[in-house]
């Protein structure tokens, strides 16, 4: 699945964090044929409405945007991967651990991986941590665990989009955007 470089037919800046609009917003744009038919792997609203609507965060891989112990509001009714830079709650592949990361690549994107690029499938997203290893180490944790470790995450593992912090009071408000371009 890893290729030596991006498909030349794709836009010049296909990597996550390029600030561009989501690709499916422009159906006329050139690029690989990706089936963007949404939602087939998401539970119906009657199920997703059960939540979780609120979560508490543990561990430090989303610093500085999100601190361990933060209370967040989650929208569990999302039916597709939200735009790049959004913070999502999902189940990690294989372990099923409920985790929180930032969307760095959406279905159809090329993402840098090891020596080349990875082309994400129609249901896949590339989820990364905000913190680097030095930051997590400074907070008593090991290296951040994200798609660089467990690969792309399927839409069926998406649980919701975290959008608002309601605790602690001093950091009350909408969640901040992407801290830096990767």
């Amino acid at each position: 699945m890893t290729t030596p470089g991006p498909d030349p037919s794709t836009p010049a800046s296909p990597i996550p964090g390029d600030g561009g609009a989501p690709r499916e917003a422009d159906p006329g744009a050139p690029g690989p044929a990706v089936n963007l038919a949404p939602d087939v792997h998401r539970p119906p609203l009657s199920e997703s409405i059960r939540g979780p609507w609120r979560i508490v965060v543990e561990e430090a891989s989303m610093l500085p945007a999100i601190h361990p112990g933060d209370w967040l509001l989650v929208d569990p009714t999302v039916t597709r991967w939200p735009r790049r830079g959004s913070i999502v709650v999902f189940r990690e592949p294989e372990t099923g651990t409920l985790s929180i990361k930032r969307v760095a690549g959406r279905p159809g994107d090329w993402v840098p991986f090891e020596e080349g690029y990875l082309h994400l499938g129609p249901q896949e997203a590339w989820l990364l941590s905000d913190a680097d290893e030095a930051t997590t180490a400074a907070n008593g944790f090991g290296a951040p665990l994200d798609s660089r470790r467990y690969g792309p995450v399927l839409l069926e593992h998406l649980v919701g989009r975290a959008w608002f912090r309601y605790g602690p009071a001093e950091r009350f408000g909408l969640l901040p955007g992407r801290p830096r371009v990767r």
Binding site: G51, P52, R54, I55, V56, V57, E58, E59, A60, S61, M62, L63, I66, P68, W71, L72, V89, E92, T97, L98, S99, I100, K101, S129, A131, E133, T136, A137, G140, F141, G142, A143, P144, L145, D146, A162, Y166, G167
Partner: protein
């Protein structure tokens, strides 16, 4: 207030998932164990080989025992750092790391088999070199 807090507190935990804490690796224990092996060889050499006193025999057995335990400890400590801490990227700086570790482990085994000051000194030097390689990756 605490009732309100518990009412607002989320029941679901999401992990901003990290690996197990790092920074717990330290070759100091291996260095100390290699020093102990050398010291025990030294103490064994100071015993009177002609002595048949129970005291001397007990000391001899104790020294041999400690020497072998600490040679085994060297192997364990070095193996853990080698297998769990070192990553492929570290081989760029030390391409012969695997060979060095392999030789070090064999040297520790030889120190269990023999009572030899030269072997013990070589083990100490090899462990010190391993520790230096480890600390160089932290710079």
């Amino acid at each position: 207030m605490s009732r309100l807090t518990s009412l607002l507190a989320p029941k679901t935990v999401a992990r901003a998932h990290c690996d197990v804490p790092c920074g717990i690796y330290d070759p100091a224990q291996a260095v100390l164990a290699a020093r102990t092996v050398a010291r025990m060889v030294e103490l064994i050499g100071q015993l009177d080989p002609a002595s048949t006193s129970v005291e001397d025999r007990a000391k001899f057995v104790r020294c041999v025992n400690v020497k072998e335990q600490h040679a085994e400890l060297v192997k364990h400590e070095v193996q853990v750092i080698w297998s769990d801490y070192f990553k492929p990227v570290h081989l760029e700086a030390t391409p012969d790391l695997h060979t060095k570790v392999w030789n070090l482990l064999k040297l520790a085994g030889e120190n269990k088999q023999h009572v030899d000051a030269a072997l013990a000194a070589r083990l100490e030097a090899a462990v010190k070199e391993f520790a230096d390689i480890f600390w160089a990756t932290k710079k």
